[in-house]
Symmetry: C2
Subunit: 496 residues, 2 copies
Amino acid sequence: MGSLSPKLPETSQFKPLDPEELRKHAHRMVDFIADYYQNIETYPVLTQVQPGYLPARLPQTAPYLPESLDTILDDIGKEIIPGMTHWQSPNFFAFFPATISTAAFVGEMLCTCFNSVGFNWLASPASTELEMVVIDWLANMLKLPKTFMFSGSGGGVIQNTSSEAILVTLVAARDQVLAKTGYRNLGNLVVYGSDQTHSTFTKASKLAGINPSNIRLLPTSLDTGFALSPVTLRTALAADVASGLVPLYLCATVGTTSTTAIDPIETLADVANNYGIWMHVDAAYGGSACICPEFRDYLNGIERADSLSLSPHKWLLSYLDCCCLWVRKPSLLVNALSTNPEYLSNKQSESSSVVDFKDWQVGTGRRFKSLRLWMIMRSYGVANLQSHIRRHVHMAKMFEGFVKSDPRFEIVVPSKFALVCFRLISPTNKDGSGQTETLNQKLLELVNSTGQIYMTHTKVSGEYVLRFAVGATLTEERHVVSAWKLIKEGADAVCP
Amino acid sequence: MGSLSPKLPETSQFKPLDPEELRKHAHRMVDFIADYYQNIETYPVLTQVQPGYLPARLPQTAPYLPESLDTILDDIGKEIIPGMTHWQSPNFFAFFPATISTAAFVGEMLCTCFNSVGFNWLASPASTELEMVVIDWLANMLKLPKTFMFSGSGGGVIQNTSSEAILVTLVAARDQVLAKTGYRNLGNLVVYGSDQTHSTFTKASKLAGINPSNIRLLPTSLDTGFALSPVTLRTALAADVASGLVPLYLCATVGTTSTTAIDPIETLADVANNYGIWMHVDAAYGGSACICPEFRDYLNGIERADSLSLSPHKWLLSYLDCCCLWVRKPSLLVNALSTNPEYLSNKQSESSSVVDFKDWQVGTGRRFKSLRLWMIMRSYGVANLQSHIRRHVHMAKMFEGFVKSDPRFEIVVPSKFALVCFRLISPTNKDGSGQTETLNQKLLELVNSTGQIYMTHTKVSGEYVLRFAVGATLTEERHVVSAWKLIKEGADAVCP
């Protein structure tokens, strides 16, 4: 440091984790956060800032000397909040909302507090074993077969995102085949999804070294509600086998992102099992609903799949990141992903009497991820979690009813969970899709620009569709009613 | 539900995010957490439970009805805490400790609160732009060249772990080569590290579809302090080229896990640049020290690397997960990782005027990760962060001095950061490594079994070494003094 540097008093006394300071600052932050949730409806849901707004308002370098929590909280109010899209607003109906809860919030605080790095059992036994417990609890709630449970012959793990769940199972499937046929076969492996499968499936396949020309996104159509047809799958498999390629992996979806389409697990499993390929079920969104008996049929046949993933951060009140992955043969994950450096070796791991979750995921380090889910399940109980799902589905049905009652609109696909896919019908030309697209784009821009709600769109079979996704934790019927009023006013404005 | 199911009153009134309940429960949790840190020295550092302890103590299924926060907090005290290895104990000297701070704690609370899913700019502009700001701030603190900064021609992103940083850069390098030479070349690509490179490098390479027989872990030795020699690298590259293989990627390390060895960036870059391969520098641990001028030389030559990663969750007071990755050519990451589904499309992304971080990482969804780092840098200032690094290095030097003062012990590799690699010398046979190993294993087991401290071991060049890593946030000189006293007493017991 040059002599012109400002003087810092007593840096040698720097105590970044004084428990009493933590107590004081964290209490302060609790009130800031409770106030944010209290006032959340006063903010525009979709931000109205322009690209580059923030770097222009902040210094170019970190400060040399400390700043107070007061100053920082002031800046959060002045600089950060105006640039946010408020995912927790009750008027957020975009994408799939990310549900949260008080129980998960305090669970996350505790996970942060412990900051244990549970790469293997010994590094944090409670973290590993509680994860095994909650994974089995959720499996029970979903009525999964024992073959997916630790208390049976399988098991599961909390990943950060569905992307990682798909990547690690795909690599497990890949390495099982390559172990038999040799690495040279990699370029012949083929993976299958539908044109509705989440884009991360293609990304994960490319990450895993699958030949991009061997990624099949099989066509779906409105006739089958955008579900993947087993006939289409069988035809594709037969053609690939006939060409000398090696079918590897199917990613089926329960609740696709565009329209919550549901691939038929049972009949797809017939085909997948027939060809001996790994079948993964991505139930990131729709899986949560399957804790209610009236939705559980969507998982029928799951006992014949190889793996299943579901993200409680979407619809089970957990914050990000939380994606539960179950597998029937954990040893295949471990074969593909295990590392055994000396600096992590210990008697328990060597005795194979324990689970080392580093061998079930991409990274090595991992947080005490199960605390949040454990606190959700205990604080609310299965009964309340079911009622939470039903409440969202009910509000979506209500919105669907509103749409049906207005002849200017149409429902594109019947709502199955808590998403409604609808659009304005072009008044001049009922088949003019170009015009329909422009009209609905205008409507979407108009309602989003008010800051009063945020909705998004998609395209299926080339058709532009508006998506109204109920799912923010704070959303109540009155918000859905107001949203519909705003959309109707928007329609008045764009179809005069 | 059958008629025997317990009755749940008013599930329709279930409000999982009542701001006043959140306020009450979160205040309660703050006190629980502050008390935990206050009392942390009273717990055995290394857990003393046996595998399977927890499932035996918990119900097999989730409760149907809610339980109170009181009940759950009781169970955390009775069932969870006894099964934890306390990473935040000031007596934790194992692996690399994971540093934390009050500023990061409250920053994490805020990140949790917003729960914005910033996959692209529009989904959360403040999240994307604050990440760009802090990535540049930290680059400035490290005196990285402008070619790694958003304010220059590069940029960076917060990943969860080094594993992901290595995976995404490796895939970017891979796809750049395959775009020119075709997918068929995948099996010929070769990657290079040393026998000291973190095991996740091998794992990431396998995930990316690199032929396992093309992963080179080049030998190092004590003579060069376990650093990778440029001569060794050049020889390996030449041999591979001569065999018709295609060198792709080098992972150099600043501060290896076993001994904090430092690969010579500058001279390795000569070789890497010569062969036109991607050079990644993994500075997960050691990089943090480079915010102090006296350590910055270890990054000399970084301007000729293609990417650099550093994990503030290791030594910059951040909680998990936080790994900063800088790249010189962000477009190569985006080329390899971008997806553009219609349901995420928006004007800003299409205009290419913004950064969409989903295209810089494995997953799609992501948290508001920059808040924690921003609050650390502002709350403490560069001055305190430097003093924090120096304090740990000073304590390690002090411990190294203790070891040197006792003729029964030897230092295996001189301490460079805050890790001391040492061991007992076998009294009967100074060269008998088998005996030395048994003796040091005994010592390690003895001191760890007391619960008073936790240390780990490694092996380098076949030699068993004890690792004493200073780095827990709460560690003070008195803890290091007591640890040494305990180790000396252990030595008295095992070498009578």
